[in-house]
């Protein structure tokens, strides 16, 4: 390697220090019922000094490794350590919650304390920091990035984490959870699909016609400045008026509250990134390339299919990615106007001051956003023509 590497990795150092700090906070909180404050237990109080020492040792090792160099071997070692910490934390979470819950009544809850969350944050900061050093070897990159997630899912499936309070909330509402998760996917997926079908032609129209460009962007931009909650609210009045005037519309689900205004608002939000990226993707094309296409006798349709479309596709997909990730988050708010979705748990939790319920809604939304992001990034990568990737054939 010719590039001179700095002799430490500041991101991994930050992650390790944060990880060490986790030991200063409580790891588990026992509550006789889910509404009271409860008692907090530190790492050594619950797991004992031995385990605490092992965890502190692992973090110190991480810190030492990230302070003393930034080579690839070190990155792999750091990645293994980080994943080890993750697995130990997950196992501990199952063990300790089980121990604390033993013999308790069903109202009792053991929730994960700040220490656990900080540990997770520290681990993923370290992994994020070393990722770029591993771009050379896809196997290690994927192994280190995803092992923790896989272990988590396996533990979840085997019931190891069933005593954690969030899981207890989940188990009481399993059917509802799956229903709301599917509804969430339906709401954001449907909206983005419709926004794509509308947005791409609008973007093309804006590029092709000077007259259309201004109004298209004026409307698309202005909708972005309305806060999502306000937009959801704003749509209630006209839609309920509409359904009152034409009651037959109610049979198609058009009402002031529920899915219709939510989907409408989400479509409006998703339009701008898609229109804008379609517009830019076509506008940025080298005019000489288009001119050459026509000059060689391609028909306008062929120029569009063979030149403009393949060259514009990555940027258009990038717009759909932005819209999708944004829509996953915005859909949470849709629960407020009765559209359902994972936001329902968040607002229920807020109403009952039940943190675990909020987390039960929020965590899957984050997970969903990450998955959608990863899937769309892959799509962008696959759609990028070989000649545009900067190099080797």
């Amino acid at each position: 390697m010719l590039r001179q590497t700095p002799n430490h990795d500041s991101v991994a150092v930050t992650g390790s220090v944060i990880g060490l700090f986790s030991c200063l906070f409580g790891w588990f909180t026992f509550k006789p019922n889910r509404l009271v404050a409860g008692t907090s237990f530190s790492l050594w109080e619950s797991a004992g000094w031995g385990i605490a020492a092992v965890i502190i040792m692992l973090w110190l090792l991480c810190l030492a490794l990230s302070l003393t160099g930034s080579g690839k071997k070190r990155a792999i070692l750091l990645g293994i350590l980080a994943n080890l910490l993750l697995v130990v934390t997950f196992i501990l979470a199952g063990l300790e919650t089980g121990r604390l819950m033993a013999g308790e009544v069903s109202f009792a809850r053991v929730s994960l304390g700040a220490g656990v969350w900080i540990t997770l944050a520290g681990v993923y900061i370290v992994i994020f920091g070393i990722r770029q050093r591993l771009f050379g070897s896809r196997i290690w990159l994927n192994l280190i990035s995803w092992t923790g997630m896989v272990v988590f899912v396996v533990l979840l499936a085997t019931g190891w984490l069933n005593n954690v309070s969030i899981m207890q909330e989940f188990m009481g509402r399993e059917e509802r959870f799956i229903q709301e998760l599917l509804r969430h996917i339906y709401l954001f997926g449907g909206s983005v699909a419709v926004a794509t079908i509308l947005g791409i032609p609008l973007g093309i129209l804006a590029v092709r016609s000077k007259r259309a460009e201004k109004p298209v962007f004026f409307i698309a931009n202005i909708t972005q400045t309305i806060p999502s909650l306000a937009l959801f609210g704003l749509l209630i009045a006209p839609l309920s008026a509409l359904s009152f005037a034409f009651p037959v519309l109610r049979e198609f689900g058009i009402r002031g509250v529920g899915a219709t205004p939510a989907i409408l608002a989400l479509i409006i939000y998703s339009l701008l990134p898609i229109i804008r990226n379609t517009f830019v993707s076509l506008r940025q094309l080298d005019p000489a390339v288009i001119d050459a296409g026509f000059g060689m006798g391609m028909s306008p349709g062929r120029v569009f299919r063979k030149i403009e479309m393949p060259l514009a596709a990555p940027l258009v997909l990038e717009g759909i990615r932005t819209a999708s990730v944004q829509a996953v988050g915005n859909t949470a708010v849709a629960a407020l106007i009765g559209a359902g979705g994972l936001g329902w748990f968040i607002f229920q939790g807020l109403g009952q001051a039940a943190t675990d319920l909020i987390v039960l809604g929020a965590l899957p939304i984050i997970g969903l956003a990450l998955i959608v992001d990863a899937v769309m990034r892959t799509a962008v990568r696959l759609a990028t023509p070989k000649g545009l990737t900067g190099g080797d054939s």
């Binding site: 000489a288 296409g293 060689m296 006798g297 391609m298």
Partner: protein, 369 residues
């Protein structure tokens, strides 16, 4: 053959091309030149209907272009532009195959043609066919652009500053190569440029344009010796005599010159030195490798020791160089003669400054007569 009859183009109220009438003969290279905004590019683009004339008619091979569908017309006319416009998402081979594909050639024939064309423009097919445009240098890209324009072997070629976007050295090489290709292909070429040297070098006829009108349309020789009016006179500049040299080849001026093999004995060398102070030195394979100074030979122990070595590309010109190139090399190196080599660097003879003077003086008197 291409014929323009009162071809006119208005953009709004401003006129870009003003009732242009001209004919371009089969197999000739016609260069459109003039100050920017003179309408030369518009004229070019009217021929393949990338720009529709406001009025007037244009005929390509006897057919009125307004009667042919634009796509159809363009498939039969090669088109190369300054910014090349290679499709970045397609490999070099796929770029060249665009028109053959539009014409529905079968795969085998297209692949063969790609190979043929890459070889023609001097790029190794094995190395270049699968490259992408972003892996090419500017000069390579422009050569691919020319190859692409030639793909379906169109009888007519439209080129808009095809050698514009590269450094002067590369441009000169591309021009020389194009001149050579055109010598064998004999396409009807219309080339737009703002570089007078390029026009003089490549054109059979130059069309000088100003504000949408044709000012003078003639062979480079006539334009240089008899500019029609003050505009053309100023446009071709005060170095007309020098420019004319670039229309003249050196081949007829090459004369024999003493040379010696590097392995020759001292005796042979001394014999030649009695007749001439400078001797060109060649290797065993007759390739030029340097020269020898009689004065140094006296103190040396072998021919090889007395030889001043130099690359043939540096010290000699090739037989298809122009007088202008040869002269500029001589002046640059302060020599009164320069060796001439063939394309394998074999020594053919030499060219002397006094011969160049003679021939230019003769041309001058012929013009004034």
């Amino acid at each position: 053959m291409i014929k323009l009859e009162n071809a006119t183009k208005y953009y709004g109220v401003s006129i870009a091309v003003d009732s242009l009438t001209m004919e371009i003969n089969q197999g000739e290279t016609c260069v459109l030149i003039g100050p920017s905004g003179c309408g030369k590019t518009t004229t070019l683009r009217m021929i393949n209907r990338l720009v529709e004339p406001t009025s007037g008619r244009i005929y390509v091979n006897g057919q009125d272009t307004s009667q042919i569908k634009p796509d159809q017309l363009r498939k039969s006319i090669g088109y190369a532009i300054q910014s090349v416009g290679l499709f970045p998402h397609l490999s070099v081979a796929a770029n060249i195959s665009v028109v053959p594909e539009l014409l529905k050639w079968d795969k085998g024939r297209t692949a063969e043609r790609v190979e043929e064309l890459l070889t023609l423009v001097g790029l190794d097919p094995a190395e270049y066919a699968h490259k992408y445009p972003n892996q090419l240098s500017g000069g390579e890209a422009q050569r691919i652009g020319v190859a692409r324009a030639l793909a379906a072997d169109p009888p007519t070629l439209l080129m808009d500053e095809p050698f514009g976007a590269v450094d002067p050295l590369t441009r000169e090489r591309l021009q020389a190569q194009f001149a050579l290709i055109q010598k064998t292909l004999k396409k009807t070429v219309i080339l737009v440029t703002h570089d007078l040297d390029e026009a003089i070098r490549l054109a059979d006829r130059i069309a000088i344009m100003a504000s949408g009108k044709l000012v003078q349309y003639d062979t480079p020789e006539v334009i240089l010796s008899h500019p029609q009016n003050k505009f053309v006179h100023d446009f071709v500049g005060t170095d007309r005599a020098l420019k004319r040299l670039s229309r003249m080849g050196i081949e007829s001026l090459i004369k024999d010159t003493p040379s010696i093999k590097v392995s020759a004995s001292m005796k042979e060398a001394q014999a030649i030195c009695r007749r001439s102070r400078w001797i060109w030195v060649t290797g065993e394979d007759n390739r030029l490798i340097g020269w020898l100074d009689g004065a140094i030979l006296k103190e040396a122990s072998s021919v090889s020791e007395a030889t001043v070595y130099g690359e043939a590309e540096e010290i000699a010109v090739t037989r298809n160089a122009t007088l202008k190139e040869a002269l500029s090399r001589m002046l640059g190196q302060g020599l009164k003669s320069i060796p001439v080599v063939d394309d394998k660097n074999h020594l053919l003879g030499e060219l002397t400054l006094s011969d160049i003077e003679l021939i230019t003086a003769a041309a001058e008197t012929k013009d004034n007569a």
